[in-house]
C-alpha cells in the first residue's frame, strides 16, 4: 500500500514539474504572446445618393414646315445630355412638364439609358411623371443623350411660343 502511494505521488510530482517547465519554456520561446493590444473601430455610413443633372436648356423647337398633303414636319433637338449618380438598386428616371401642352401639339423625350438601364424610348411628356429610363443600379455616368421632339397637327393651328420646364426625377422602382 505504501509502495503504491509512493509511486502515484512520484508520477504526480513529475507531471507538475513538466507542466511548470513547459510554461517556463513557452515564456522564453514566445515572448510576443505577452504583447498588449488595443482596438479601435473605423466606420463609415454611406447614405442614399441619387443625383441627376442636365447639361443645359434645349434649343428652341419650331414647327414651321410641312409637305403638302401631310402634317407639319416634326422637329427635334439632341443638343443636351444628362448625368446620373446613384448608389441604390432598381431606380428609374421619370419626366414631366410643368404644364400641359396645347391641343394638337406634342412634346416627346427620349433618354439614352446608362449601363444596365433600359430606355423607354420616345415618351410623350405631360404634367404627369412618366418613366423614361428604368432598371438603374449603382452607377455614375454622364453625357447621356436626351432627344426632344416637337410635333403638331394641322388642326393645332398657329401656336404662340412658349416654354416648358421638364423635370427629371430619380425614383424607386422600374423593371
Amino acid at each position: 500500500m505504501d509502495d503504491k502511494f509512493a509511486v502515484i505521488k512520484g508520477q504526480y510530482t513529475g507531471k507538475t514539474l513538466a507542466a511548470a517547465l513547459g510554461v517556463a519554456l513557452a515564456m522564453v520561446a514566445f515572448p510576443a504572446a505577452a504583447g498588449s493590444t488595443a482596438t479601435q473601430t473605423t466606420t463609415y455610413e454611406v447614405q442614399a445618393i441619387n443625383e441627376i443633372s442636365v447639361s443645359g436648356n434645349a434649343a428652341a423647337l419650331v414647327v414651321s414646315a410641312a409637305t403638302a398633303g401631310s402634317a407639319p414636319n416634326a422637329v427635334s433637338d439632341t443638343s443636351t445630355t444628362y448625368a446620373i449618380t446613384t448608389n441604390q438598386t432598381n431606380k428609374k428616371i421619370t419626366a414631366a412638364i410643368n404644364t400641359a401642352m396645347p391641343a394638337g401639339v406634342t412634346l416627346t423625350v427620349s433618354l439614352a439609358a446608362p449601363t444596365g438601364g433600359t430606355s423607354a424610348g420616345t415618351t410623350t411628356l405631360t404634367a404627369t411623371a412618366a418613366d423614361v429610363v428604368t432598371g438603374i443600379t449603382g452607377l455614375n455616368e454622364s453625357s447621356l443623350g436626351i432627344t426632344y421632339q416637337l410635333s403638331a397637327t394641322s388642326a393645332a393651328g398657329v401656336v404662340a411660343s412658349a416654354s416648358k420646364t421638364v423635370t427629371f426625377t430619380i425614383a424607386d422602382g422600374g423593371v
Binding site: L21, A24, M27, V28, A34, T43, Y44, E45
Partner: protein
Amino acid sequence: MHRIGLLLVLCWALPSAWAADISVVGNWTELIDRDDLVAGAGSDLRSPIESAGAQATLDISATTGGNWTVKVAKSDLNWPAGVSVAVRRTSDGSGSGGISGGTTYLALSGTEQVLFSGSGDRSGIQVQLKTEGLSVGAAPDNYSTTITYRVE
C-alpha cells in the same frame, strides 16, 4: 535537483514575459453622402477619404525603458470589397526614449504589420486614417472594420 533547475529557468524567463501596454482613444466615423461626390451627378465618390490628423491617440506604457514595436491589423465586420483602410503616425507623442517609422500610410490587412517602433514609455502618439476605393457601387449601409494595435 529538478526544483533547482525549474527555479533557474523561471528566473531567466520572467524578464522576457514583461509586456508593454498600449491603449488607443478615438474611433473614426465618417458620413458619406451627396456632398462626397467629386463633381455632382455623373461623378463618383471622392477618394481617398482621410480622417483628421489626430483621429486617434496611442499611449504606450509599462515598457521599463525597453524597446518595443507596434503592429497593426484589421478585422472586417462589414467592409466592402475593394475598399482599403490605411493608418499612419502623425506625431511622436512625448515621453522617454524615442519613436521611429510609421509616418507614411500603411494599408491594413488581416495580417499584422509593423507600424512603428520605439523605446520607453510614450503617450499622445497621434494617428490618422484613410480609406480608398469607395464608390457608388457600394450600397447605402454602415461599413465597419476593427483595427487592432499590438505592442511587443
